[in-house]
Symmetry: C2
Subunit: 156 residues, 2 copies
């Protein structure tokens, strides 16, 4: 089962997003975990590889079960781990084969084209304390079929 | 890839542990995620099935990459998600085919027989704010070969 980590850097009211070439959709930089990595190590490594930046104050905000369906048949299932960072160090790439990187006002997460589940996850990560959990069901063409969400906050 | 959730209930200075029949080792109640579940749903369901209790204030505390090695060869890899709850509702089972359930003073997590990685995870969950991440390498006989740990706290 695939494990994917991504990381949303949030700084001075802006978020660093990658516009992917294929659909023009926006994503938080990330990618596939390697064998034996922790999810934290994967999120930091993938972010550095895709942006040339070192993320600071990295913290997990969401864990999602991603289900791809063709009709009633489940054709794929994987786990998505979404982190934030509240600062970065270095000079970011502008364009790579992964897409075009830029900072956008946080509010634009409401409108920029992206997978519906990504919008749920990234808006949660920027605006809420605690951790989000859930399951997203998609078609093979990434139309959202259903989302089920839970949320928890640490008790002090 | 297998995904396992467990949940440590902590109440009035005690933790609810399950003593497994095979080795006599102590664990937090848990088990395998089902297809399409979120990790939160799995942790709550498995805890209820194994204890007959409804956990309250459920929150994720740790995510671990578990690697089983035979010499230099990786023979298995799975993900472990460790939750806490700060209260429970209901009357717990005493003994099931899973083992014997009982409440133990939190301090006994230092001494009760258990997998070395479980001790690291459960002690963290009872004593620290924030989230723990890491990788544990074990032999097939569950001797700990290595542990690598990271930790993060949410910025306010």
């Amino acid at each position: 089962m695939q494990r994917i980590t991504n990381l949303l850097a949030i700084k001075d009211g802006k978020v660093l997003l990658l516009q992917k070439p294929r659909r023009g959709w926006f994503v938080a930089p990330g990618g596939k975990m390697e064998l034996g990595e922790s999810i934290y190590e994967s999120a930091v490594r993938e972010f550095q590889e895709e942006t040339n930046l070192k993320p600071k104050n990295v913290h997990l905000k969401g864990i999602y079960t991603m289900v791809i369906k063709n009709g009633d048949t489940v054709v794929d299932e994987w786990m998505l781990y979404t982190f934030i960072a509240t600062d970065v160090e270095g000079t970011p790439f502008v364009e790579t084969r992964e897409g075009i990187l830029d900072w956008y006002p946080v509010e634009q997460l409401n409108d920029l084209p992206m997978a519906a589940g990504d919008r749920t996850n990234l808006l949660f990560a920027t605006a809420n304390q605690g951790m989000q959990y859930g399951t997203f069901e998609y078609t093979e063409d990434f139309e959202l079929l259903s989302e089920t969400i839970q949320h928890s906050i640490e008790q002090n």
